[in-house]
Symmetry: C2
Subunit: 195 residues, 2 copies
């Protein structure tokens, strides 16, 4: 998605070889018109799968996911993050390990919000190691529902998540794929856009 | 906003005399079309104030605030919550006391995202004691910027926040005002809608 790639080049900031900061338009500050375009793009890619729900993880997945849900005309479900607590029976839950923070957190969805008739489109802002997406997949499967696709705004294609999810048969659509961030330069998977 | 009041009556759940659960359409599950309508309503109420930014607090303020920012054509800034850490100079920060959780948390906004030329519209999903809104006001004032208004989806008018904010001269627009939740019945400030 060219508009997104241009925004990443113009306003993204390479923090380390592994970390791209997009605080200016995707998470801390959000560009609502870009989110709308991203929502339209996800809707165009996935509407044939007839999703009944969009699922994302708080909080930075919410903006692109809300716009995708709006375009698709279906509810958005926001999985909640929290540290492991006492087991209760009213929620679906999965553990998600963060390689960045080196800690395990739980993601939780209230049972009444997903059931076996649902066809779920998972949306997230970033795909790195794929752990968050796999946690959401697990929650969907606990509900007996189907994952009809995974939409990612920015995939770090130099990390394992994309390969892992695709090898398990999921259709993953990433609107931008970063090939590397070496030497402070953002190289997209399809080629170099700046240097 | 009638559509919102009807949704609260149809899908809201009174948990205690003080707690209204709106997990079905406002936070855990989100109705994107209702959010769009809410965004339009906030834009209609506040566009004359010429806001340059919308500010909200993660994570349940994001959905209505994103739609308001979209309609107003301005960026959304999402203040982050976290527990106090080492002081840094690159952020605005305020402490917010939660009466529900009986704990103080910090809210943080990166300095480059707000400056003294900004006219900020604060949006949040709930207004109860007003502590979150006051924390956001403090962050805006640290930036030397102006608060041009406060837009709330659901105000618990039986708690002190609305009175507190209005007494300090802020223009507060609440799309639904709950007068009481006594005996499991949702009474709106303007009268009874169910019973």
């Amino acid at each position: 998605m060219r508009e997104l790639l241009e925004k990443i080049v113009a306003e993204g900031e390479v923090v380390t070889d592994g970390v791209l900061k997009v605080d200016r338009f995707l998470n801390h500050q959000v560009d609502p018109h870009l989110m709308k375009r991203i929502g339209e793009e996800f809707a165009a890619k996935f509407h044939c799968e007839r999703p009944t729900k969009v699922l994302t993880l708080e909080s930075s997945g919410i903006s692109p996911a809300l716009m995708a849900a709006y375009e698709l005309g279906v509810p958005l479900v926001v999985a909640r993050k929290r540290r492991p607590l006492t087991m209760t029976r009213e929620v679906y839950r999965a553990e998600v390990y963060s390689f960045t923070k080196k800690e395990t957190n739980e993601i939780i969805v209230s049972r009444p919000l997903l059931d076996s008739s649902d066809r779920v489109l998972i949306i997230d802002d970033f795909l790195a190691n794929g752990q968050a997406a796999l946690g959401m997949v697990e929650v969907v499967h606990q509900a007996g529902a189907d994952v009809v696709g995974i939409g990612i705004v920015i995939e770090k294609a130099f990390q394992d998540g994309g390969r892992l999810l695709r090898s398990r048969g999921f259709r993953v659509v990433s609107l931008a794929r970063i090939g590397s961030l070496t030497d402070g330069v953002i190289r997209f998977h399809e080629g170099v856009m700046n240097g």
